[in-house]
Subunit: 430 residues, 2 copies
Amino acid sequence: MVPHLITALTGPINQLEARVLESMPAIERWFRLEWMEHTPPFYTSADLRNAGFKLAPVDTKLFPDSFHNLTPEMLPLAVQAAMAAIEKICPEAKNLLLIPDGRVRNSFYLQNLQRLVEIFNQAGLNVRLGSLDPALEAPTSLALPNGGELTLEPLVRKRGRLGLKDFDPCTILLNNDLLDGVPRVLQHVHEQYLLPPLHAGWPVRRKNRHFQSYEEVAKKFAKLLGMDAWLINPLHGHCGQVDFDSASGLDCVKSNVDALLGKVRRKYKEYGIGEKPFVVVKADNAGGTGILTVRDARELDDRERMLRGRAALVHPGEALDEVIIQEGVPTFERIHDAVAEPVVVMIDRYVVGGFYRVHADRGVDQNLCAPGSQYVPLAFAGGGQLPRPGEKPGASAPNRFYMYGVIARLAMLAAAYELEATDPDAENDA
Amino acid sequence: MVPHLITALTGPINQLEARVLESMPAIERWFRLEWMEHTPPFYTSADLRNAGFKLAPVDTKLFPDSFHNLTPEMLPLAVQAAMAAIEKICPEAKNLLLIPDGRVRNSFYLQNLQRLVEIFNQAGLNVRLGSLDPALEAPTSLALPNGGELTLEPLVRKRGRLGLKDFDPCTILLNNDLLDGVPRVLQHVHEQYLLPPLHAGWPVRRKNRHFQSYEEVAKKFAKLLGMDAWLINPLHGHCGQVDFDSASGLDCVKSNVDALLGKVRRKYKEYGIGEKPFVVVKADNAGGTGILTVRDARELDDRERMLRGRAALVHPGEALDEVIIQEGVPTFERIHDAVAEPVVVMIDRYVVGGFYRVHADRGVDQNLCAPGSQYVPLAFAGGGQLPRPGEKPGASAPNRFYMYGVIARLAMLAAAYELEATDPDAENDA
């Protein structure tokens, strides 16, 4: 099922689409050369926003949890990409240990895990699940919504190696963003491949660092295509010490919001865009899904609103002292009148599928990753690699999806840059 | 569209299917380890025959010409596999020179070329077509049945490099089995990658050498699965000097036919198979599609039949002095009452799709690659990688297709062994 796209069919995005299509072999070669220098994250998903006048990633996940949203037709691509990934990392591997996050009772998340097990099983690995929960002392069955079951087992740590009872894996695959910190059992695992690396988790990761890398990547790519990087890059600023409780604690946020809104306003003017600019404030060091939408720095003086805002950004009890202020990119895509944003899923350097996140009750400037959102799996897999060069820009879903696959891979490349820059062992390696 | 399979649902094949399914991760790992030691051919297609009691490859093409039979849904897999192949061979490549065979006026073959151009274009290469025809002096347009066109250009040879006017490729991809010999323009191309290598062409290649390698591979694989290699291996013999014109010239063929029929008879008895065994005689050193079916060595005394037989095996005017005698594998698959055989297409080490070759007017023991055959593209792509482990053997197309993908990859691996054994530069490399 390919939903009808009602993205505005004129304006800069269609110029971008035309440029991307005519440059396809050059773009693919450019990625190929970048991957010679940089190692892609093991797996990645990117949330994109298409404003009609601008297309940009707004969130890049290094522990993607939406493999269940891929259609069965997309799976062979995922299996093939997983084969390529394993072959490079640990070609002799028999076993893969998958470490899920704490949400193992959530039925959507369980389906995500089931899909991951399926993919790596078919790529030639025995896959078993290890739990970070120290309270788990014996193998525990988890019933899957579709009738099957998964078994969660206690981790067994022996000196440098991590495994399960009678199960010694070559690679340990984390599907856990480590928001609660790096558990001791995962520290100093030097004899096995622990992927993604620990510094991809939130204790180290910062969104502003990612978008700094993304800006670098977007500028290189824009140069290749001879276009303005802003068309694919959401501007951002960040504040490393924020105190929501005092008025002056928000000074940094205010000045960043003000500066960013000014920059966006100038860009809107340059492109003749009639929209009212907005920025979003997010926690810089958490995968938390809350955002605070701001259209005027003066809104930050409304203390009531700020306190409600802070509550939305973090889980109860968590401190919020680092925020990223990001240019808001409205989404102009709709599926049956509901606001939609594309999500692209990647394994190794390959786009393996995608889907739309749809929310009937949210506005174009709001976060769609919230209760009530629906997911429409899309034939991205085909479209992601198979543009139709003859067709008019904006006229076909496959062409639009190819472009989405390109922008999502830019976000993945930015993550590769980011992980290199934040690698604590980088100096030892050099 | 997945045609209804009426393969006999009981007997050894279903045991094989069950064994293949339960061993999936071990099989995939086994292939992974084999590919660490052996380089897969650039692309391969394998014709399989499923007898219900036996499943075997009967022909392995190293210059596959049926990419047009893949459905559009299969293309992303082909593009991804092509990306992986290019990345290993020549990651910095901008250009790919494709050299088709002489059938460039045949509309099916043109569609095959168009599909290849599309795949490698989307993998990030500028693809142009160079002609081996010395009479072609200027670029020539070839109209495609679907409205587009391809341009065939004269080859330009400059010392060690081969290209076109203003087009210097890193890789030269042959889609030509060199049946007429190796043209001078292709000799001593040492500065570029010429793939598949010249010794994959018929001047060097011998079917019996391939099936010798296949037997080796099948035995290894059978050992892994703890089964009889005969269930996947067509027995064969060969005669290097045959003279169809004299009665004694066929002595070698006769004794081979007799010995092979004896072996097959014993195997049929062992498995309680009620069929009457047959063997097929084929040219050993040509991709020619003719076969001669023999059920009794005494048939070879029928001179009339032999001369008609010879005429079927080679093109008019060609000598036939080397033949392979192969165990005949009847095909028990039908699509709407027509006899069908599966063809699996691979790029690099990956199954990228498959289709059924169907012929309404042929018998179960005849060659289906003949005028009047139809092609039914099959959703092999999905099935090839995505078995459903829970299902009863013989009950589902995906499981059957996964097994087909495994057997086809064994044929591809055999081709890798074969190309190593026949590599004229092997000693230099060592």
